[in-house]
């Protein structure tokens, strides 16, 4: 005798049911003699049955259970009896529900799975209906339609009583409708209208948040989402509170972030004072203050940076102007050049304006014309000054290319390290080849084959391993056995 535990043995599909019954029958036969052999012998069949039921359970869950639960859920959202005459919505949903019911009743997982698309359609129709009718609250929705059902029933009778009752029902229906609309506007709509922008704002600002902060806010959003789906106006007040809290948290965190970012921007801007003309700096400062103000106003942090300020361009502009001026000094009188250059040094570590440079230029021109009038012609002094001038130019150029130099230096280190190891491999290969051919190791011959200069590459030893020095760094490679 066999019995089944319905919460474990969940075979619906006929194909699975038949196969399972065959296997169970086989096990039954094998164990019917109650011998040790019988129990041992049915091991393989039990294994097959277990595999079959596992497969069945997976399909049961995927094709039937999920859809069955979704269907129940939809039926619960409707919650009132669908009776004729149908409203447009009821007519549509009734047809779909009947189809789904039929598909789910079949003893075939394949047919059950086809209910999925119908369920999605039904879900959409119901959601559209809720959105359009504003009947978000389940209790009010059911109340509304139950009352409507009463009216429908009364419509069938044409007695005086039914007319009188109908008018009362209509008043009651209207009251429910009004109550619903008030609640909808008061709770649901308000939250819905606030919720999306807050979520969007958070999505935009998320990169500025720590994981912990982001998680905490997302958790609050989930709670709001959950409440919105609860179809209960009473709990929507709670959603509003949560949303307030989340918004407050968001504002608080954004405020803190903004303060940090603003302070950093101010610090950075202060550092720029000597790198750009002071009048440019003042403009930048103004722009930065505008940005901070805008961020305070909009709550956005993503634009709170110097990206659109063209700072590099402004830095280069100051350098170029100074350099161009230095170039004009080449033909000028030595003592004067020295004095001008001394003054120019200050342009790199002090706040200066374009006007300062222009003044210096005009002062120099003035002195020069006076000097020429006084006849300064010492060639030695000139050449000395020219050399000094060139030296200063080189220094400026060096300063300009300093950063590029450091980057290249790093890249070179990697490049030469790989190259050094490659030379060690080449030398080892050639030594191994000579050894293998029983030749005497001729290191000069090997060295000649490598075109790198002896200053760069030295072969230090080659007993059991090759040791080379390439660009002041040692590289090694074990020599293979013959």
């Amino acid at each position: 005798m066999i019995s089944f535990l319905p919460y474990i043995y969940i075979v619906r599909d006929k194909k699975y049911s038949d196969e399972s019954a065959d296997l169970i029958k086989k096990i039954e036969n094998l164990t019917s003699c109650d011998s040790a052999f019988g129990y041992f012998a049915c091991g393989e069949t039990i294994h097959l049955l277990s595999d079959l039921l596992k497969k069945n359970n997976a399909e049961y869950s995927k094709c039937y259970k999920v859809n069955f639960l979704a269907f129940n859920n939809l039926k619960e959202i409707i919650g009132w009896e669908l009776i004729k005459p149908f409203t447009d919505f009821e007519s549509e949903i009734d047809g779909l529900f009947k189809d789904i019911e039929e598909l789910l009743e079949e003893k075939s997982y394949y047919v059950n799975s086809q209910s999925k698309s119908k369920l999605l359609s039904a879900e959409k129709i119901i959601q559209d209906y809720i959105d359009n009718s504003h009947l978000v609250d389940k209790k009010l929705r059911v109340e509304f339609h139950s009352k409507l059902n009463q009216i429908k029933k009364n419509l069938l009778s044409d007695s005086l009583i039914s007319v009188l009752i109908r008018s009362n029902d209509l008043i009651a229906l209207e009251e429910i409708f009004t109550k619903n609309e008030e609640n909808f506007q008061k709770y649901y709509k308000v939250i819905l209208e606030r919720f999306e922008p807050v979520k969007q704002s958070f999505a935009r600002l998320k990169p500025y948040f720590s994981n912990k902060e982001a998680y905490s806010i997302e958790e609050q959003f989930d709670n709001v989402e959950y409440i919105l789906q609860s179809q209960d106006f009473d709990s929507f007040e709670e959603a509003e509170e949560i949303l307030n809290m989340a918004e407050f948290k968001l504002t608080e965190i954004v405020g803190e972030k903004r303060l940090v970012i603003s302070n950093n921007l101010k610090k950075e801007l202060n550092k720029l004072k000597t790198f750009v003309w002071i009048e440019d700096w003042i403009v930048l400062k103004g722009k930065m203050e505008e940005l901070i103000e805008e961020s305070n106003r909009t709550g956005h942090l993503d634009k709170l940076n110097f990206d659109s300020f063209g700072i590099e361009h402004k830095k280069a502009e100051k350098k170029e102007m100074i350099y161009d001026f230095i170039k004009t000094l080449e033909n000028s009188e030595g003592q004067l050049v020295k004095a001008v250059l001394d003054e120019l040094k200050g342009f790199f570590d002090k706040e200066k304006s374009r006007k300062d440079l222009e003044e210096l230029q005009s002062r120099m021109l003035m002195i020069e014309s006076e000097g020429k009038a006084n006849g300064c012609t010492d060639p030695k002094q000139y050449s000395k000054l020219l050399r000094y001038l060139k030296f200063v130019s080189v220094i400026v150029l060096l300063a300009l290319s300093m950063s590029a130099f450091f980057i290249n230096q790093k890249k070179n280190a990697v490049h030469f390290s790989a190259k050094g190891q490659k030379y060690a491999d080449i030398v080892e290969t050639m030594i191994y080849a000579q050894k293998k051919n029983n030749e005497e190791i001729n290191i000069d011959k090997i060295r000649r084959k490598i075109s790198v200069s002896s200053d760069e590459l030295k072969i230090i030893s080659f007993d059991n391993e090759v040791v080379i020095e390439y660009r002041n760094k040692i590289y090694k490679k074990n020599i293979r056995k013959k």
Binding site: I2, S3, P6, I8, C33, S35, A36, F37, G38, L49
Partner: protein, 336 residues
């Protein structure tokens, strides 16, 4: 098919037992038992002094011919055993293995990973000592031996094979596989049958297996030497060697466990016997229970064996019930 294993308690000599149980190798890695007519022909071809066997002399070995313990198996279930064995692959003979199949099984097993590793060591050693020819000869002789096993009437071929292995040993005695093959030839019921020589070759094979650290091979040698000790009534030695084999071989040859249980049973040590029988039944093949039930040596512990079957049955029954219950199916008396 499960057959009654040889026992010293049977009323037949070992040589006669082997003569009655001839197998031929099939070219698709299988083996087939020869009928009475066939084995008379084969035995005559391999031993001119052979006296034809008559039907009435044949010892019944098929398990179906015996009354088995009812706690273990009932008559209606016997047919099922045949079906289960049919499904077993050759490399998984399990309880269907019998000692007279050893050379066929051994040669087929030589293509296994364990063997290939061992053979590779020998091949390298022989190449190293400039004796590569000896290895080639060994392989050729092994192939010829398989040919002989496919057609065991060709006694000339067996002589050639034997000579080939002997030549290999003359050239290089450190190849355990050659000694093992020669040991198998001496074990066959032919004109060369000589258990002493066979034992000597298996002992040599064991010695050289240990030298090349081939534990699987050493375990097989111990298994064979233990069998010879049993035949020679030296049960203590048979047990000792079987225990060493189990220790060395990492539990892959079920026959070692079964024979050990058999040796213990023959000296009425039921505790140890049932311990190893239980292991071989649970770990390898439950049909060993049937093999034990028809083995003469296990009759020495008949009562305990019966009790063991009852215990085993209850355990398995409980397991089956639990597994089915996990699947939501309730069988037997629980279903109300």
């Amino acid at each position: 098919m499960i057959q009654k294993p040889f026992s010293r308690l049977l009323n037949i000599s070992y040589r006669d037992f082997l003569n009655q149980n001839y197998y031929v190798a099939l070219n698709h890695h299988g083996l087939k038992k020869i009928n009475l007519k066939g084995l008379n022909t084969i035995s005559k071809a391999n031993d001119p002094g052979f006296i034809e066997i008559e039907e009435k002399q044949i010892i019944q070995r098929k398990f179906e011919s015996f009354d088995l313990s009812s706690e273990l198996i009932v008559n209606e279930e016997k047919e099922l055993v045949a079906e289960i064995i049919k499904d077993n692959s050759f490399y998984n003979l399990g309880a269907a293995f019998s000692i007279e199949m050893i050379d066929i099984v051994w040669i087929f097993e030589m293509s296994s990973e364990e063997f290939r590793k061992g053979l590779a060591v020998i091949e390298d050693s022989l190449h190293f000592c400039d004796k590569a020819d000896s290895y080639i000869k060994f392989i050729e002789s092994t192939k010829k031996y398989l040919k002989y096993l496919e057609n065991p009437s060709d006694h000339r071929l067996l002589s050639e094979v034997k000579q080939g292995f002997e030549d290999c040993i003359k050239e290089y005695k450190g190849n355990p596989f050659t000694h093992f093959m020669l040991g198998l030839i001496y074990h066959r019921p032919t004109v060369y049958f000589d258990l002493k020589k066979s034992l000597k070759e298996f002992s040599e094979a064991k010695h050289y297996s240990l030298e090349i650290e081939n534990q699987f091979m050493a375990a097989m040698c111990n298994y064979m030497i233990a069998w010879f000790s049993y035949l020679d009534s030296d049960i203590d030695k048979a047990i000792e060697l079987s225990l060493i084999a189990i220790d060395n071989e990492f539990m892959n040859i079920p026959e070692i466990y079964f024979n050990l249980a058999k040796y213990y049973a023959s000296i009425k040590d039921h505790e140890n016997s049932l311990k190893y029988l239980d292991e071989v039944i649970r770990r390898f093949d439950f049909l060993y229970a049937i093999k034990a039930d028809i083995d003469e040596d296990f009759k020495q512990i008949g009562q305990e064996l019966k009790e063991y079957f009852i215990k085993l049955k209850e355990e398995e029954k409980s397991k089956v019930k639990d597994r089915l219950k996990e699947m939501g199916i309730i069988f037997f008396s629980e279903a109300k």
